[in-house]
């Protein structure tokens, strides 16, 4: 029983954090972002490096922490399990970007090349794209053709765990921004962090983030090892971590006061990513209902 990252995994974590921090600083030009897809391919993050899912979870967490803008989540977490060897190679090389349909909606429809539709067919990415709460994550309605059947299968736990890991990164960043601000901002002649109404909100966020991270890593390990608990662990992780991320951002906005409510401050972008992650796929309440079915048996309504 050993629930710590290996030295190599920690090394990977540092590399990812470094790459994303250098290319996606908080003072970036938010309206014109480059997804650096070719660089991701070269780093092996699009499937080329044969990472285990625990390592991929590190990538997702860091992509949330940095608020990486490209369709990494959908290509690697949603679409890859469907693809045959040739398609995987093209995806890993960065030649084809993929997305996958979920309840009629396709993330990044306008910027990917191919889509896995809800019946497991490959389709060219065509259709109407709609803006969402998170400007970097539009959703589209697929214009369906017959498509070509794909050899793989849907991996729901993998997709959910990836979203949970990303949410952990978002929550961690919102916490850090709040802590930094509480250490420096002064009111009534004191740093606002001395006021417990402020510091206790951040302490609660810390506890939330640690618990969310534990669930996300547990789920990631279950997915990587094809453990039978993967579906429940992933449902738990997505429900808890995405809610934790939303709350972390809300508390951080509150701690920032007026500046936290501005477009200029980056916090709202983390908040919007958190809301997207919470809302896409199954919502937390639906996931808890799934878990309740597993614990209590399917509900018999009188």
């Amino acid at each position: 029983m050993d629930f710590a990252f290996t030295d190599e995994q920690r090394q990977l974590q540092r590399e990812v954090r470094g790459f994303l921090a250098a290319n996606y600083p908080l003072d970036r030009d938010w309206e014109n972002q480059d997804d650096r897809w070719q660089e991701l391919a070269e780093l092996g993050w699009l499937g080329g490096a044969d990472l285990s899912f625990v390592e991929e979870a590190i990538l997702f967490e860091e992509s949330g922490y940095a608020l990486y803008p490209g369709p990494f989540l959908v290509t690697v977490a949603f679409a890859l399990p469907w693809l045959g060897a040739e398609d995987r190679e093209a995806a890993a090389a960065g030649t084809t970007k993929w997305s996958a349909e979920d309840r009629g909606l396709v993330p990044w429809l306008g910027s990917v090349d191919m889509v896995v539709d809800s019946d497991g067919n490959a389709q060219p990415a065509r259709g109407e794209e709609l803006p969402t709460v998170d400007p970097t994550r539009p959703l589209g309605r697929l214009e369906r053709t017959n498509g070509t059947p794909l050899p793989g299968a849907r991996d729901v736990p993998r997709a959910r765990t990836a979203m949970a890991a990303e949410a952990v990164g978002v929550a961690q960043r919102a916490l850090e921004l709040g802590v930094e601000y509480a250490k420096t901002r002064e009111q009534f002649g004191k740093k606002i962090g001395v006021y417990q109404a402020v510091s206790h909100q951040l302490a609660d966020t810390y506890a939330d983030v640690e618990l969310a991270r534990s669930l996300a890593y547990w789920a990631a390990w279950c997915v990587a090892e094809e453990d039978e608990r993967a579906p429940l662990a992933a449902a738990a992780a997505k429900a808890f971590a995405t809610e934790a991320a939303v709350k972390a951002c809300e508390r951080s906005i509150q701690v920032h006061g007026g500046i936290g409510f501005t477009w200029e401050h980056p916090l709202h972008r983390f908040y919007k990513r958190a809301l997207w992650l919470e809302g896409f796929g199954r919502r937390p309440a639906e996931l808890r209902a799934e878990i309740a079915d597993a614990l209590l048996g399917v509900a018999v309504t009188a």
Partner: protein, 381 residues
Amino acid sequence: MDLRDTVEEGAFRAELRAWLDANLPEERRGWRGGEQRFGDDFGRAWSRKLYEAGYAGLTWPVEYGGAGSPYSFQAIFYEEMARAQAPAHVGVIGLGMAGPTIMAHGSDEQKQAHLSKILSAEEIWCQGFSEPDAGSDLAAARTRAERRGDVYVVNGQKVWSSFAHIADFCILVTLSDPDAPRYKGLTYLVVDMHSPGVEVRPLRQITGEAEFNEIFFTDVEVPVSNRLGDEGDGWQVAMTTLLHERGTLGFALTAALDVGVGRLVETAREHVNGDAGVRERIAAEWIEMQALRYTNYRSLGAYQRTGVPGPEGSAIKLRWSEQNQRLTKLGRELLGPEGILDDGWWHYQQLRSRGNTIEAGSSEVLRNIVAERVLGLPRSR
């Protein structure tokens, strides 16, 4: 990262499971805790049995009666004890607080004198930290210890001291130098509870039982050789105790939650299975319990390396206590009118859980600790 048992861990788990099956009487499973622990001789006898089988003090060094096993064995122990719904060892304060503090700060004689007797439940210990005017603010302790030759003469009053009414020894925080600056005038003593001048008065609790007590000290003579650490170093020694109080507790607490969630599921099945709101709340408690479990696992690695629990243990204790309050309240609520009957398991657990956010560092104090020591925010005091 591998959540599976290693070969050694698997063997240990299997052996422990078999041992529990063979040695734990059916009627002693699923105890509610509290006073029942000391209601008859079973508690001490059971603790001694655990000790003789090598299951008490798993991570303690062999020379002090422990098994010298890695912390993962301790985690497995709690999991299996919870699974069997076995009563815990009765030496809660000795195992979790006094023992680790003696190991960290004690002399060889002190270690020889007490450690194996804590494990065998020959010695029951209590903790004399809180006073009427010094609760969260432990540094304000006023119980006096005056040096006279090779004894300290102790006068003063402690309060809320769990198990003091049956304890043989007490870890006591005293004020030895009233003129010293804050944190510098405290001295940490081991007091024989059978000494002349020690008087214990049980206090009745919210549950109706009396598990904690006032302790009055009147000219109690404590040999200087019973001091832990140097004179004036009591604050540092007390911090060791508190760190262990919160740190090692994590696994035991989470294991108990696991039992609680299991019971909740059973209660819900019998009473309100179709209620969507209740089903969602139960799922939420299951999720939180798993989150705590794996947070413990994550802290295990660091613990194993340093032997000292990290401050994130405060977050675990904080979340555990709040969850236990929600969980037990829900269990009782599910019973409907039966839930207010005075004799049920949920009834007792729900009332007892109100103490969880006060004992071992109140939730407010724990949030201060997380804010200041983990997040590095400026001190509020």
